[in-house]
């Protein structure tokens, strides 16, 4: 009985929830399409070899970079040649906000990023098209699932002398410095190793293999995500901070107590 009724109602009229379903489908399709067209993972979405990308990049380059780097990135007195520096160096420098340079100083400083990810990739594509150079890293090396212990050992041999064992950063000559690596994206860490930005040496894949780079990145992610087991780290700069702490806060508290202990009770 009920079944026959249902069959009859299905033949012509729209289901009451049809509108809802239609709107839901429409939202879903739009959302997926939007996600599909916007860049969430750079390597997956923008085709660095397409002429459209390269042309867009050339226009951006001419407007923002050519003053110092030359119209064909051949270099001027104010900026080095970028021919051969590859997509990786552009993605690093622009993606961390170092480029465009705000002022000439000992080195380029990290500041708010001025371009969208898509624009950065377009400029990267343009520079990559000028001559072969280091490309964007393969995402399998950026997952942070490598050998943390091996990464830690490699980090101490190759990186800690400038960036400090806990990646807190350190001093270089003449006002330059190696920045802290805490909070730096895995892709940027990889690109920095491979391109050797400014005075950082180049760590090519023959020196530190891609898997070893992945291990180093895994170590950095580990110390970034895990709590400091000792408590407050005082900036991870070691005995200098510890000494200042004991003199200012430790002795400060204790001297305050000595004054209380020996004061006359009211």
């Amino acid at each position: 009985m009920a079944r026959a009724k249902k069959n009859v109602s299905k033949s012509g009229r729209r289901h009451p929830l049809a509108t809802v379903a239609l709107v839901a489908v429409g939202l879903l399709v739009t959302g997926v399409a939007y996600t599909g067209f916007s860049q969430t993972t750079a390597t997956a979405e923008v085709d660095l070899s397409s002429p459209a990308t390269i042309e867009a990049g050339e226009k951006l380059f001419a407007a923002n970079c050519a003053t110092c780097h030359g119209m064909q990135a051949e270099g001027t007195v104010d900026g080095p040649s970028l021919i051969g520096s590859g997509a990786a160096s552009v993605h690093f420098q622009v993606g961390t906000g170092r480029m465009p340079l705000a002022f000439q100083g000992p080195q380029g400083m990290v500041k708010p990023v001025q371009f969208t990810d898509e624009q950065t990739l377009q400029m990267a594509a343009f520079v990559a098209s000028l001559a072969p150079g280091p490309g964007l890293p393969d995402s399998q090396y950026l997952q942070g699932d490598g050998d943390v212990a091996n990464g830690a050992t490699l980090f101490r041999i190759n990186c800690a002398m400038c960036h400090n064992v806990a990646a807190a950063g350190g001093a270089l000559t003449e006002g330059k410095f190696a920045p802290s690596l805490i909070g730096v994206g895995a892709d940027h860490v990889y690109e920095a190793m491979v391109t050797g930005p400014q005075n950082m040496p180049v760590f090519s894949d023959a020196n530190i293999t891609p898997q070893e780079k992945a291990d180093i990145i895994s170590y950095l992610k580990y110390i970034e995500e895990k709590p400091a087991v000792g408590g407050l780290t005082l900036g991870s700069i070691g005995p200098v901070a510890e000494g200042l702490f004991i003199w200012i806060i430790g002795l400060g508290i204790i001297v305050a107590f000595t004054v209380w202990v020996t004061a006359k009770s009211n």
Binding site: R156, M161, L232, P239, G250, T258
Partner: protein
């Protein structure tokens, strides 16, 4: 002849006091402890916050002993190689010495182990810092004068022993940071002329790093050096008992008395309570603030090094001195290498420490004062001594700052070369400037004291006199308040007189010159006559 001692009557006492008297009797019959109780139980100690700084040092040493004993239960001072199998992921499978592995185990696998490592290391930093502060108090109040010169030297030895304890201690985990510190010590030892290479060879048991050094430092750290510290602390405290504690000038306090509170019950409560407070503060810091995270540095290997490599703060002045030497200070004479870039820091630091150690004898020679001194000086009343102390502290501070030259560069966004050049200049200029500022400030404060003693405080009340002039009424100080302002010692510069041969020997000239330097500029304390005159003048 035998004497019998009848035990005191117990019938009229309550149960607990009967037990106490029976127990006291039992012990006294075997130890003569009654003498100690009688001599010491109501001994008077004066009360001032600055007198507790030595106690901070003593108590932090006790905390070090307690926490250190816990650590020795788990630490293994061997340099044999082992693979780490504990829970800390970035060290898993890494080859390291047993010393490092056992330190990692204490930190990650022993309950309370990390807490005890923190307590031990923070207490060690506090120990040396409080010794330094205590020494400064002794210096600036002149408590090192007769009869306490020897106690000053004992205290100085304790300061050096404490630094040695700290250095041997933080080198035990055999990590990259302390290992590079040992490397630096090796380089300094090697630079010593004639015997340096052999001294290094003997110290490390062969080439650097060798496999003996951690074990040897362990022996020094837990046996030889603590024994010496305990011995010297016992001597130090024995002298405080024999000499009785000094006291600040004040009404009713004279050279012939000690005014304060008795050991039982007041000092037992305050000083005993203070021990728990110091321990508690160390424990509070240890619960929340990390120190020496050796798992970041990794096991010692001559290849890696961390940006920001410094020793613990109390060795900082030595590291800083090394960094401030300009380039190229090494010569080759007669085929031998003279490393002045090492020898000059050694000479400067040892010279500085020697001057600190013998200062009481220098000042006694300059003043010629052979009397006992039990009343302390307010620092302003010894302007040259205070200024010399300020200059010495500043000199030490510039050397200490040198050790953090690279960290200052990154944190204040400066070039490290600029920081180093500035500190090189300050090494000479800053003590001179500090001396001048301290001396002038002391003299000015003395003048102010004199004016208050004679004329009283400005009360802020303006009164118009019948003749039309305005004066400010000065409130006179009470006799009790005035005493502190007028009771200090006064010295005059030595008069040079030829001896029987009609000549003035060089030693005497030097002494007179120093006496002039110390006492030429001085503010003479007001006499009773001046006070009476001041009262007459009516302000």
């Amino acid at each position: 002849m035998s004497t019998t001692v009848t035990p005191p009557p117990t019938q009229n006492q309550s149960g607990s006091s009967r037990f106490t008297s029976a127990a006291a009797n039992y012990i006294d019959e075997r130890t003569k402890i009654g003498v100690a109780v009688k001599e010491f139980g109501r001994k008077v100690f004066p009360d001032h916050w600055s007198f507790l700084l030595g106690e901070v040092a003593l108590y932090s040493f006790v905390v070090i002993l307690l926490s250190g004993t816990f650590l020795t239960l788990f630490f293994q001072a061997s340099m044999a190689e082992v693979f780490y199998t504990g829970p800390y992921v970035p060290m898993k499978g890494v080859e390291m010495s047993v010393a490092m592995a056992s330190t990692l185990d204490i930190s990650f696998s022993v309950r309370g182990g990390l807490l005890m490592r923190h307590v031990h290391h923070w207490a060690a930093l506090l120990f040396v810092a409080s010794i330094g502060l205590h020494m400064l108090r002794i210096f600036f109040t002149g408590a090192f004068r007769k009869p306490r010169e020897l106690n000053w030297v004992i205290g100085f030895v304790l300061f050096v022993l404490a630094m040695a304890e700290g250095f041997t201690g933080y080198s035990l985990p055999d990590d990259v940071l302390s290992g590079n510190g040992l490397r630096i010590i090796d380089g300094i030892i090697k630079a010593v002329p004639v015997v340096g290479t052999w001294m290094s060879f003997l110290f490390f048991g062969g080439e650097f790093p060798g496999t003996d050094i951690v074990g040897r430092l362990y022996m020094l750290h837990i046996m030889l050096l603590p024994a010496m510290v305990i011995l010297f602390v016992a001597l130090h405290l024995a002298f405080v008992v024999i000499h009785k504690h000094t006291q600040y000038p004040g009404p009713g306090k004279t050279q012939q008395n000690v005014v304060g509170f008795p050991v039982l019950p007041v000092y037992a409560a305050k000083a005993g309570g203070f021990f728990f407070i110091v321990f508690g503060v160390i424990m509070l810091i240890a619960s929340f603030v990390g120190i020496n995270p050796i798992w970041n540095y990794g096991p010692y290997d001559p290849s890696p090094v961390s940006a920001g490599t410094q020793p613990d703060w109390y060795i900082g002045f030595a590291d800083g001195m090394l960094r401030l030497i300009p380039p190229g200070w090494e010569t080759e004479w007669f085929g031998y290498t003279w490393s002045w870039n090492m020898l000059v820091p050694i000479i400067v630091m040892v010279g500085f420490l020697i001057v600190v150690a013998i200062y009481p004898f220098i000042e006694a020679w300059v003043t010629g004062d052979k009397r006992e001194h039990h009343i302390l000086d307010r620092p302003r009343n010894a302007p040259t001594r205070t200024a010399i102390g300020a200059a010495g502290v500043t000199f030490y501070a510039v050397m200490w700052a040198g050790a953090s030259s690279d960290i200052m560069a990154t944190h204040f966004q400066l070039a490290m070369e600029g920081v180093i050049h500035t500190l090189q200049a300050l090494l000479f200029l800053a003590p001179i400037i500090a001396y001048q500022i301290a001396k002038r400030t002391c003299l000015a404060l003395q003048k102010k004291d004199r004016s208050i003693a004679l004329h009283g405080y400005e009360s802020g009340r303006i009164v118009r006199m019948p003749g039309g002039e305005f004066i400010e009424v000065h409130k006179p100080v009470t006799d009790y308040e005035r005493w502190e302002l007028v009771s200090y010692h006064d010295y005059e510069p030595m008069m040079l007189r030829p001896n029987d041969d009609g000549r003035i020997p060089f030693g005497k000239r030097l002494r007179a010159g120093m006496s002039r330097w110390f006492f030429e500029n001085r503010i003479v304390p007001p006499t009773q006559k001046e006070l009476d005159q001041g009262h007459h003048e009516g302000h």
